[in-house]
């Protein structure tokens, strides 16, 4: 076993996912199969290999600090599931 049902529950909590009992069992089985397959990578000695996180050389992309027009407020707010005036409304947090 690479990953236990308890670990699946823990990871789901980190990812803010609520899984049903059936989903927990299903994912435990499927993630084990997939993680076992990934063990394949351990056949390779990568001790001296630099990792690639990005294929293009990373440089900062700067621009002049000039004010630009932003999106229309009403068009942005139109997608809000719940709003109060120009604010997004959310459940109490304090």
């Amino acid at each position: 076993m690479k990953i236990s049902l308890q670990e699946v529950e823990y990871v789901a909590g980190l990812a803010r996912l609520k899984l049903s009992e059936e989903e927990k069992e299903l994912f435990t089985g499927q993630l084990n199969t997939i993680l076992q397959y990934m063990d394949k990578l351990n056949e390779l000695d990568t001790a001296d290999v630099e990792p690639t996180f990005h294929v293009v050389p990373h440089v900062n992309a700067f621009r002049e600090d000039e004010p630009q027009r932003s999106m229309e407020r009403e068009e942005v707010m139109a997608n809000a599931p719940s709003r109060k005036g120009d604010f997004f409304r959310v459940p109490r947090i304090l």
């Binding site: 990953i3 670990e7 699946v8 990871v11 789901a12 980190l14 990812a15 803010r16 996912l17 609520k18 899984l19 989903e23 994912f27 499927q30 993630l31 199969t33 997939i34 993680l35 397959y37 990934m38 394949k40 990578l41 351990n42 056949e43 390779l44 990568t46 290999v49 630099e50 990792p51 690639t52 996180f53 990005h54 294929v55 293009v56 900062n60 992309a61 621009r63 999106m71 229309e72 068009e75 942005v76 139109a78 997608n79 809000a80 599931p81 719940s82 997004f88 959310v90 459940p91 109490r92 947090i93």
Partner: protein
């Protein structure tokens, strides 16, 4: 109807000579969609009103003598590319009602040319899948055999092009999501070099792998569309500062003396014999045109699937953390904030998306980061170096796009690992960031299309297009089209 047979570059000629009008053409396509959509299911949203408005504007441009290559050409757009004012769902319940307040850079560029956007196409939810069966809303069927999948994740775009429900389309490719459905549907699909096309406005799945690209009927249209959408964009810090290129200029130059690399690792056990025969036949056609064939090696090919599914899920788990029910999309749950997050995400995401978020969260979590994510990133270096080495010996690498023709609906959907393994020939290209395209190169005994993949050096799409174009001058696979799609067909 004759209009439906015209490619984008042929339409351009008709528009220029005033033999056809953009409004006429848009109407033909809207009618076609009505007739065949019930059998194909390529579109999530069709926008007749918007399309006709754009067509009228295009008509005015042609009347003013101001036509560009795509002015009045009806296109379909994958539903993970933001279109201002037109619903963009990613085929996910969590974005079921999202109307973007802005256009993706590629859409802005198409609109500047006066292209007509017919609608938004179906896909695997958040582009996660290889059959379009992971859409939260509907199945798309392969126009060449309606019990088959169109491939994925850009299955709606590829099916729409094959079924002549649009002239050409845009897709996105993270691990083969343009090339594999293009192969399954018998059309041309290109994943450009990472950085060639701006990702601004593409809903992020795996940011170091995602690229937008064209899905078209022939290679000239592919060049035309790539030209239209490529180029540096200040809104995407990973877009490459490359000058605009004329990708059509090199078409027709021939391929005499060009070196084609055939990687031994791609001719594996389990490959469909009809696919293998078609690929060798295609290689012989290219040899006949003066290309030289070299056997090459990409020794880490066998590790690409494992590497890819660690990196893409890790990036996805981070990218998809933004879906919290606060600013747009679905919101569920009574009670406190945590409850809202949990309910929104659990009801909004489908099973494959949850699986990948889980896997990605796990491989990035404390204690496992080095064993999985870092390890995969190191193997990614080895895979990149494989390509660097191979391109010392050849200009273009030739492989099958997929080990089999289109598989059946429902065949792999319950076995995630089998589904992942169907991407085996396409994903190393994304890990290395190089460009690749798939072109039709034959048909199976069952009449299903087979795709040839051409892989090029970084930013050398021109050579890929030149080889693919030379191949299409010698063959007619790209001219065939599926029959019996209109109502009343068998």
């Amino acid at each position: 109807m004759e209009v439906l047979t015209l490619s984008a570059h042929e339409l351009y000629e008709r528009f220029r000579r005033k033999d056809l009008s953009p409004v006429e053409v848009a109407e033909v396509y809207l009618k076609r969609i009505e007739e065949v959509e019930g059998r194909v299911g390529a579109y999530l949203t069709v926008d007749p009103e918007g399309a006709l408005r754009q067509a009228r504007e295009a008509e005015q441009r042609w009347r003013n003598g101001d036509g560009a290559p795509l002015t009045g050409v009806p296109l379909a757009i994958k539903d993970n590319i933001c279109t201002k004012g037109l619903r963009t769902t990613c085929a996910s319940r969590i974005l079921y009602n999202f109307v973007p307040p802005y256009d993706a850079t590629v859409i802005k560029r198409l609109k500047e040319q006066g292209a007509v956007i017919l609608g938004k196409t179906n896909m695997d939810e958040f582009a996660m899948g290889s059959s379009t069966e992971n859409s939260s809303f509907q199945l798309t069927k392969n126009p060449w055999g309606v019990e088959r999948t169109p491939g994925g994740s850009s299955g709606g775009s590829a099916a729409a092009v094959a079924a002549r429900e649009c002239v050409a389309a845009l897709g996105s490719d993270t691990g083969g999501s343009i090339r594999q459905p293009a192969a399954f549907c018998g059309v041309v699909g290109m994943k450009p070099t990472y950085g060639r096309v701006s990702r601004y406005g593409l809903v992020a799945f795996a940011s170091s792998l995602d690229q937008i690209g064209p899905i078209t009927r022939d290679v000239e249209d592919c060049a035309l569309l790539l030209e239209a959408i490529s180029g540096h964009d200040p809104c995407d810090s990973t877009s490459a500062p490359m000058p605009k290129e004329d990708f059509r200029a090199c078409l027709g130059e021939g391929i005499e003396g060009l070196r084609l690399g055939v990687p031994q690792e791609f001719f594996i056990e389990g490959m469909d014999p009809e696919v293998e025969a078609s690929i060798w036949e295609a290689i012989r056609v290219l040899e006949g045109l003066g290309a030289r064939v070299e056997e090459i090696s990409l020794p880490h090919t066998d590790y690409a699937v494992a590497t890819y599914y660690i990196i893409c899920t890790a990036e996805a788990s981070s990218n998809l953390a933004r879906y919290d029910g606060v600013k747009y999309g679905l919101r569920e749950g009574e009670g406190d904030l945590r409850e809202m997050y949990l309910e929104t995400r659990s009801r909004g995401f489908g099973p494959e998306v949850k699986r990948r978020i889980m896997l990605g969260t796990y491989v990035l979590s404390a204690g496992y980061y080095d064993a999985y994510y870092r390890k995969a990133s190191q193997v990614r270096t080895l895979i990149r170096e494989d390509f660097d080495g191979a391109f010392d010996r050849c200009e273009v690498i030739v492989t099958p796009t997929s080990p089999t023709p289109a598989f059946g609906l429902g065949e792999k959907v319950h076995d995630p690992l089998q589904m992942y393994l169907s991407d085996i020939f396409t994903i190393s290209v994304n890990l290395a960031g190089v460009p690749a395209l798939s072109i039709p190169c034959g048909f199976s005994g069952d009449g299903l299309p087979i795709g040839l993949q051409l892989i090029g050096k970084p930013f050398d799409e021109a050579t890929l297009l030149r080889v693919a174009h030379a191949f299409q001058q010698e063959t007619d696979y790209h001219l065939r089209s599926p029959e019996n799609l209109t109502r009343g067909g068998p």
